[in-house]
Each structure stands twice: as C-alpha cells, then as structure tokens.
Amino acid sequence: MTLKARGLGWSVAAQKIIDDIRLSVDSGEFVGLLGPNGSGKSTLLRCIYRGLKPDAGTISLDGTDLLAMPPRDAARRMAVVLQETAIQFDFTVQEMVLMGRTPHKSAFDPDTSDDWEIVADALAQVNMLDFRERSFGTLSGGEKQRVLIARALAQQSQFLVLDEPTNHLDIRYQLEILGIVRELRVTTLAALHDLNLATLYCDRLYVLSEGRVVASGAPDEVVTADLIYEVYGVRADVATHQRTGRTHITYFPTSVRANA
C-alpha cells in the first residue's frame, strides 16, 4: 500500500493551516511526521484520514483517488488510531476492537466466528487478550492506546495512520506502543512529538513548520542541529548513538549557549 499526497492545502478564514504538502509513504515503510505544536501535523493527518476535506491537492492510495473513494472502501484500506479522548459511554475492550469490523459489514450482518477470531488475534498482538472483558473506561492510557491499535488491526487494512500515539504516556509505554507498531510491518504514517523516538523507530521523516514541509528524508539526514533550531527554536546537539546506531538529540537548556 502506497500513499501519495500532492499539493495538499487546507485553510480556515483565508489562513493557510497546511499549504502545498507533498508527501509519500511507500509500502512497508514507517514514516514519521514531526513539527512543533500548530505546525499542521494533525490537520495534515485529518485530510488524509478524511476528517477534513482539503481545499487543494490530491491524495492517492495505491493509485486510487482517496478523496473520491466511498468511505467504506477507504476504511478497508486505511485504519486510523486517533488521540484518545474521554468517552461518556463505556464499551468492553472486545466490543471496542470489534468495531474495527464495521467497514466490512452491511446493515444486518451478524458477527461471525471469523470476526471474533480476528478480534482475538488483534488483542493478542498488542498483549491485551486478558483484558477482553474489561470495560474500556477503566484502562490506563497505555492500555487504551493498545486497544485502539488492536481495533485498527481488526480493520485489516494495509495502511495505518497514527496521530501522536504516545501522547500522555509514560516512557515505557511510549517505547512499547511504537515497538508494537514497528513489528506489525504495516505501512504506517505517524505524527510524533518526540524527536528521539522518531529517529529510533522511523524509516523516513517529514518535518512540518507553519504548514509546510521544511525537510524530509532519512532520520540522520533530516534531524540536524540547524533544523531543530530553525523549526523549534531550540539549541541541540545531534550525534549517532553508539548503542542504537540511531540519531540521538541532546537538548540544551536556554541557559547553556551553543558552541560553548
């Protein structure tokens, strides 16, 4: 599954929130989307998962126009894990995951044994099978996030979109969540907050600033001290970590001057 976006734009009240975005995700890739708050990451993802209708540009999934696709077809090809929000009505964990079967069902289709098998597999993949009867509302943030990933898996789509999946999680769960997604080997586009985690897990990165792509490529090419200063306004040291072999960023507090 490959995703290609060209000239993508969305504006509100004549202000361009994202502008002329060109982005692609190749089959099997884990691509990260970086950028400070308000840089347009979430808006870009929304346009891709059709939560917003872009007012310029095209998006294609395996060569098919995504914006013209019936919603059900789109949902069979692309699963989305959104930032978790509080819900007023509680479902059990397995009901939540079973919802992932929705795009495969017509009006009065019952749940089949296949569906339940898919749900159990999905829960097993995120190590949540023992929680299947639990109520979703009683789970911790990391557990909820894992259940939502299981729901995306139950959709059995070949393309996964994640909007800051590690937000508000302890570092252990951040690593766990990204590790789980990485091991799925599904084509993935994820908005991420933490640069060190992005360089650790992503094959390629896009950096957004003020609604435009300012850098893209392999993590070690993209994440440089200059870029971090330019985009985030923060001084940092960038080096290859000797244990992980990945680019590692050390931020300097504002009291420490660069090159000091």
């Binding site: 959104l82 819900i87 007023q88 009505f89 479902f91 929705t102 959709q155």
Partner: protein, 311 residues
C-alpha cells in the same frame, strides 16, 4: 365495573373471532377502551426510549432526551398550531401528527445548529440551546393558546400537553405504531454505525461511516418518531432519558442490544405507569406525564452527578 381476569380472554376472542360467555358491554370496554390504551402506552413508552437511545448517541450526551433538548416543545407547538389554528386542516386526523413532526424537526435543527461550533458539538451549549428553544416554543404555544377565544381551548391544550393516554382509540395507534416498526428496523440496520458514532465523529469517519449523512437521517427519523408519538400522547417526559441508561447498565453500550431492549423496557415501563395513573387516585385519573416526571427528574439529577463531564 370489573372485567378482571377475563380481559385476556376477550382480547384473544376478539382477535381470533372466537365467541365467549361475555356480554357485549364487557367486550367493548376491553376491546375498544382498555386494549388500545395499553398498546398505545407500549408504543409510546418504547418509542420514547428508542428516541432517547438515538439522541444520546447522536449528541454523545448522556443527558440528551427529547424533552430536555426542546424537541418535544417543538412538537407541542406544531400540534397546538394544528389544534387551535387549523393548520393543515385538509389532512384530517393526520394534521396533528404532521404539525408535531414539523415542529420537532424545526426544534432539533435549531438546537443542533446552536450547539455546533467549528464543526464540533458542544454538550453544554446543546443543553443550554435546548432549554432556550424549549422556553421559546413553550411561550409561543402559550400565546397561541391564550389568544384563542373559543371556550375550552386552553383546557384542551393543557390536558393534551400534560400527557395522557385516556380516550385512546384504535385509529390513534396506526401511525405511531407503523412509524415505530419502520424506525426500529432502520435503526437496527444502523446499530454498528451508532456504536461508532457514540465514540466520536472522527472515529466513525475512519470506520467508513458517512457521519454527516447519517446524522441528518437520524435527525429526521427521531423528529418523525417524536412528532408522531407526541401527537397522540402529549408531553410524557424523562422516559427517553431513563430507559436507555437503565438498559445500558444491564446490557452494555452495543446498540444491537440497547435498541431492542430499550424498546421493550420503555414499553413495559409506560404500560405500568399508565396503570398507576388510572388506579392511584381512582376513579380520578392523573396524567401519566406527571408520574414519569416525578420518577424521572430525580433520576436526571442522579445521572448528572454521576456524569460530571456531560455538562
């Protein structure tokens, strides 16, 4: 007079054409007066509960109910316009239903558009908009009622508005029962979509649901049901609020279970409330709306304390 245990025999006999040893008067009391009333109580109670389920899912607000959101007062205004001003006069007995439906739809659209800001539905605004719309429509209804010169107009409207099932005839049943059957079939077909919608618009979108289209349809379906039911029953409050919650406590949130069980629970509940309405102060009858409000208002307060985020 007491008909007693032979009620069911008479109903059965009437329905199947079997003769029995009951008098004509007994048969008429059961078949023409009691039975349609019990059936209507079931249809109204079940219908209001189903409307409550859908409204709570669409608005993602556990406190949503046709009465709290002003939908009922819209229906009431529509119905009173028909009762007193003769709008849609050419439609005969369906005029009241059409008026109530249009009033309900108008109120729903109004409350919805007031509650949406930047494409997001704000629960607090929704309740406040509902209260405002409710008061506005009630004021117009009162104005129309009071400016009507004909004797007995105010009494007729008041009696209708308090919610009562007395004097139910078989014709009253047709339209709401038909609408309820069609409505529940349509809604059961959308139950997976409702499950996704109750989580959030964006989640529903990513699961392949055309949220805006679905919401528009649900709006029309619930307005239609509300209008048709209120036209025959008057204002019966809090059934739509209470039943879905009690049912969810037992069967969970999956609408494939919540919808049919709520239908049943609402029907049973209102049939018994109507029994109370008839017998508590017999031979004097009290409007069912009074009893449902007496039970429902404390329930609402309890629910409000339990769901602190809803407001």
């Amino acid at each position: 007079m007491s008909v007693g245990m032979s009620d069911w025999e008479i109903v059965f006999g009437k329905a199947t054409g079997v003769e029995g040893d009951w008098s004509n008067a007994q048969a008429n009391i059961v078949w023409l007066i009691r039975f349609p009333r019990v059936l209507l109580a079931g249809v109204v109670g079940g219908g209001l509960a189903v409307i409550g389920v859908v409204m709570q899912a669409v608005t993602r607000n556990p406190l949503a109910d046709p009465f709290l959101l002003g939908i009922s007062s819209g229906a009431a205004l529509g119905a009173v316009s028909v009762l007193l001003m003769g709008v849609f006069g050419g439609l005969g007995i369906y005029a009241l239903s059409l008026g109530a439906f249009l009033g309900a739809l108008l109120a729903f659209v109004l409350v919805f558009s007031l509650a949406i800001q930047n494409g997001r539905l704000l629960p607090t605004r929704m309740i406040l908009a509902g209260v405002a719309v409710s008061f506005m429509f009630s004021a117009v209804t009162s104005f129309i009622t009071l400016s009507d010169d004909s004797s007995g107009a105010a009494r007729r409207v008041l009696f209708w508005m308090l919610g009562g099932l007395s004097g139910t005839q078989w014709e009253d049943l047709t339209l709401p029962a038909l609408a309820l059957v069609l409505g529940i079939v349509y809604l059961m077909g959308q139950s997976r979509a409702l499950n996704a919608l109750i989580i959030g618009d964006e989640t529903a979108t990513t699961l392949g649901i055309e949220v805006h289209r679905l919401r528009r349809r649900l709006l029309v379906v619930t307005s239609l049901l509300t209008g048709l039911i209120i036209a025959v029953s008057g204002a019966i409050g809090f059934v739509g609020l209470m039943m879905p919650h009690i049912v969810r406590l037992i069967v969970g949130t999956d609408h494939r279970r919540v919808l049919p069980v709520s239908l049943l629970a609402g029907a049973v509940y209102l049939i018994w409330v109507d029994v109370m309405a008839r017998t508590l102060f017999a031979p004097e009858e009290i409007p069912v709306g009074i009893i449902t409000s007496l039970c429902g208002a404390p329930f609402f307060l309890w629910l409000m304390r339990r769901n602190k985020d809803a407001l």
